[in-house]
């Protein structure tokens, strides 16, 4: 296999040290595809004594959340969230605050960036209504809702609001784009981001969530602005309710194009929860009644460089039905139905919901239409509706305010639809995830640009550090280098990049390195997942264990059959780092490369087993878990792929 595994402590020092360096602004823009020619411009070929002098490639693995809701989101408000965008940013920056349920809460360490992404439809509605907005309360409908909520009939009011919204029968003063109320909510969102954005230390992005959900099928996207408050203030978010909005992603992309023109700055969109779209997130034939054509695939590729692959409502990398040979595919799945549980899941939907399948189908579409619409990098984020990006297993503050820590959340049903059989328990909500971005600086511009070039990875919560480079000339000795990034950028392209025109007789080689979260668990293994389009035009996939800890053996078929073990003690909700290892690095060469076939490769880094949040709750609250409750998990990271495209 041409791979070696070794310890990596010096690299750890370098990587950790880079976190402590004062932030610097890139002398050159780092926008664009990370191809070799671009990288040669930013990395000097003849360094002096200091190996770090003149270095201009991304050295900062920044961790954040691109998908967090606050009380400004209608549903979060209905669930009782009272924390505002300002609270959310303060918390993400590392401050201790009081949660929606009155509990002091603080992250183990600050995040580096955050996007408050409140739903664009009805933004700010509940704070406006319950704050006694005069315009809204002057209407019979608004007054009725207000009185009902205060009078203990919150459920009835919620239902009436939902139905009125669905029918577009909204009272005067309801926050829709163009109204004063909507403007105020959007301005509050922008002001919060501006107030807490601190270049070099913490990035507060401006953003929102566009929430297409027709028929209960999730097609949501988070929209992120590269620019500042003055620029974002020139527009108002795109909504789903006609006539101002639309539930068709094509219309969102039109809005994004118009917005860039208007504000003179970039935006991007990140889709999520294909697992709740019932087969609609990654279409291959038609979308919204229109056959997929070149315009669709080009436009989608243009606006959606990333996909949120893991979050509280499930992890959507792979599914055991689609990947029966992947023993790690059965991880934090939500595969029972669509978003509102109105339609149960059918097996034939899965191919169009999961990231790996989309990456594979993207190759096929590229062969057909010339552009790959699913050429996305991977990130994780929370989708918490609490204002709290608290996704650590031992510090998990749930998805909604009533799901903040309490003895009840171990046994309560989140949703139960007896008609469709879709039932989800609170314990099935995942404490996941975060977005990791390799940026040149902790600024809006640098992080956004890293997202655009897909130099990102998803984690299910831990902040492990992962490097992944592809090229034609990586040699086993490169894994001995204590500066893998220097070698990686010199000889190849990073995660999210492209390889093409394979040199005669050469196979792609990959330099991959992972370092455990300093607060977290040891590593089990690194895998490289390959997908390709075979000579018959069929998609294929294969998983290779490329580096494993504990002296275990990788067999001739590229797999390590020996599990890493398990030290979790459920009674005390603890584990030990006596198995696995703190770091892994290797060079791996594709043993079955065919230069004529399109392919992608991404790395999956897996930790040793650790207690899930349910185990911490069981211990802390003395609650007996329901039968079937998942109590142990193996956290992981997924890098953005590197694509190979045959030359013309």
């Amino acid at each position: 296999m041409g791979s070696i595994t070794m310890r990596w402590s010096a690299v750890a020092t370098v990587l950790a040290g880079s976190l402590l360096l004062p932030a610097f602004v890139a002398a050159q823009s780092d926008v664009g595809t990370a191809d070799k020619a671009t990288l040669e411009k930013v990395y000097p070929s003849k360094p002096g004594y200091s190996p770090y002098a003149g270095r201009n490639f991304p050295t900062l693995p920044l961790f954040g959340d691109t998908h967090l809701h606050t009380a400004f989101s209608m549903d979060a408000g209905a669930f009782g969230a009272r924390l505002t965008p300002k609270d959310a940013y303060r918390f993400a920056r590392g401050e201790q605050i009081v949660s929606n349920t009155g509990q002091p809460v603080k992250l183990s360490r600050p995040l580096d960036f955050l996007v408050v992404a409140d739903h664009s439809d009805g933004m700010g509605f509940f704070p406006q209504l319950m704050g006694g907005d005069q315009e809204l309360l002057a209407t019979a409908q608004g007054r009725k809702w207000y009185d009902e909520i205060r009078g203990g009939k919150g459920a009835e009011a919620a239902m009436d609001i939902i139905i009125s919204f669905g029918k577009g029968q909204l009272p005067k003063g309801f926050p829709t784009p163009g109204t004063t109320a909507y403007r105020n909510a959007w301005q509050e969102t922008i002001k919060a981001a501006e107030a807490y954005n601190e270049p070099g230390r913490f990035t507060a992005f401006i953003g929102y969530e566009w929430t297409s959900n027709t028929g209960g099928n999730n097609l949501h996207r988070n929209v992120i602005f590269r620019g500042n408050g003055a620029q974002a203030s020139l527009v108002e978010p795109f909504t789903t309710l006609p006539p101002l909005g639309s539930d068709n992603p094509v219309d969102l992309w039109k809005w994004m194009a118009a917005t860039e023109q208007k504000i003179g700055s970039e935006v991007l969109a990140i889709a999520h929860n294909g697992n709740l779209s019932n087969g609609r997130m990654f279409p291959v034939v038609e979308a919204f009644g229109r056959k997929l054509d070149k315009e669709y695939v080009q436009t989608r590729a243009r606006w959606e460089p990333l996909y949120e692959v893991t979050q509280t409502k499930g992890t959507g990398e792979a599914h055991p039905f689609l990947s029966p040979n992947d023993e790690f595919a059965n991880f934090e799945l939500w595969d029972k139905g669509n978003l509102d549980g109105s339609v149960a899941k059918a097996k034939d939907m899965l191919e169009f919901e999961y990231a790996r399948a989309a990456l594979k189908n993207g190759l096929k579409l590229e062969a057909q239409l010339g552009v790959n619409p699913y050429k996305f990098g991977l990130i994780g984020s929370s989708d918490a509706h609490t204002g709290l990006a608290a996704m650590e297993e031992d510090n998990f503050f749930g998805k909604t305010a009533p799901q903040e820590p309490s003895p009840e959340r171990m046994t309560k049903a989140f949703f139960n639809n007896p008609t469709t059989g879709v039932k989800v328990m609170d314990w099935e909500v995942g404490a996941s995830g975060y977005a990791a971005v390799w940026a040149t600086a902790n600024t809006r511009e640098a992080i956004f640009d890293a997202m655009k070039r897909r130099e990102t990875y998803a984690t299910t919560g831990p902040r492990m550090i992962v490097r992944f480079f592809g090229g034609w000339d990586f040699a086993p000795a490169d894994a001995n280098n204590r500066l893998p990034a220097a070698v990686g950028y010199t000889k190849g392209v990073p995660m999210g990049g492209d390889l093409s025109n394979a040199p005669q007789g050469k196979s792609p080689t990959f330099l991959v390195a992972a370092l455990k979260d300093p607060f977290g668990a040891n590593l089990d293994r690194i895998q490289v997942v390959k997908g390709w389009l075979d000579k018959d035009g069929r998609t294929q996939e294969r998983i290779h264990d490329v580096a494993v800890t504990g002296g275990r053996r990788i067999e001739a078929d590229g797999r390590c059959k020996t599990p890493v073990g398990n030290t979790v003690d459920l009674e005390s909700a603890t584990w030990t780092n006596t198995i696995g290892g703190p770091e892994l690095i290797t060079v791996w060469k594709d043993p079955e490369f065919d230069a004529r076939q399109r392919a992608f490769y991404y790395a999956r880094v897996i930790e040793i087993p650790t207690p899930r949040w349910t185990a911490y709750d069981a211990k802390r609250f003395g609650v007996k878990p329901l039968p079937g409750t998942t109590m142990v998990l193996q956290e992981r990271a997924y890098t953005a792929p590197i694509w190979y495209t045959p030359g013309t």
């Binding site: 809701h69 989101s73 549903d75 209905a78 669930f79 009782g80 969230a81 009272r82 929606n100 349920t101 009155g102 509990q103 739903h119 439809d121 009805g122 009185d147 909520i149 205060r150 009078g151 203990g152 009939k153 919150g154 459920a155 009835e156 009011a157 239902m159 939902i162 139905i163 919204f165 669905g166 029918k167 929430t211 297409s212 959900n213 028929g215 209960g216 789903t240 539930d247 978003l339 509102d340 109105s342 989708d383 998805k399 909604t400 305010a401 009533p402 799901q403 903040e404 309490s406 003895p407 009840e408 309560k412 989140f414 949703f415 139960n416 639809n417 008609t419 989800v424 003395g622 007996k624």
Partner: protein, 209 residues
């Protein structure tokens, strides 16, 4: 008493079946969570009471329901019926105790909502006693609203907790016009401690059922 909590489920389902596009979906809508959330909007920080209750239970200050979750809907319904009856009887005892503390000073109407079952109970002065409406639809428009939970009422009745202690532990929160809140709080503070014997008898009666 669970009927209020469960009310939203069929409504949401009906909306979905009717083809109403529920665009504001973050995910799965648990009706009891919506009820609780809405209460938190109308009466800010009522969710803090819920936290205070489970913390006091873990600390042994008030009793904890050790009964495991019912495995089937029928058992759950039967248990809910018994709990409603038990709680209603306790609230009746509580009304009697509060009524005994009336001393001629004016007291505004007030409502108690137990946030576990989301059960509203109204109390209105009626001459020199208090009239009680159990399982009320909600508070009157001018009522002082008291947010607490069933185990707190039980602890107050059993003399394990004074109203002042309950307030200081965050187990009870008052909402309303400041003077009205002060009057109701003062009334509750005048409630004589004790009554454990009577509650014990009552509990035996409940258990016998």
């Amino acid at each position: 008493m669970k009927s209020i909590n469960l009310a939203l489920g069929p409504l949401l389902l009906a909306a979905v079946l009717a083809g109403v596009p529920v665009a504001q979906a973050c995910g799965y809508h648990d009706p009891s969570s919506v009820n609780l959330g809405m209460l938190n909007l109308a009466y800010p920080d009522t969710l803090h009471v819920r936290t205070a209750v489970w913390m006091a239970q873990l600390d042994g200050v008030i009793s904890r329901d050790e009964q495991p979750a019912a495995g089937d809907p029928q058992t759950a319904t039967i248990r809910a019926m018994f709990r409603l009856r038990e709680t209603s009887l306790r609230l009746g005892w509580f009304r009697d105790r509060i009524g005994a503390a009336l001393d001629g000073r004016p007291v505004p109407a007030f409502s108690i909502v137990l946030i576990g079952p989301m059960l509203w109970t109204r109390f209105e002065p009626a001459g020199d006693t208090l009239a009680m409406t159990a399982h009320a639809a909600g508070p009157g428009s001018e009522d002082v609203v008291i947010v607490t939970d069933a185990p707190v009422v039980a602890a107050l009745l059993e003399g394990r907790l004074t109203p002042q202690q309950a307030r200081s532990l965050g187990l009870v929160r008052f909402y309303g016009a400041p003077q009205n809140v002060a009057d109701v709080a003062s009334l509750l503070d005048r409630v004589e401690p004790g009554g454990a014997r009577r509650m014990s008898q009552h509990n035996q009666a409940v258990e016998a059922n």
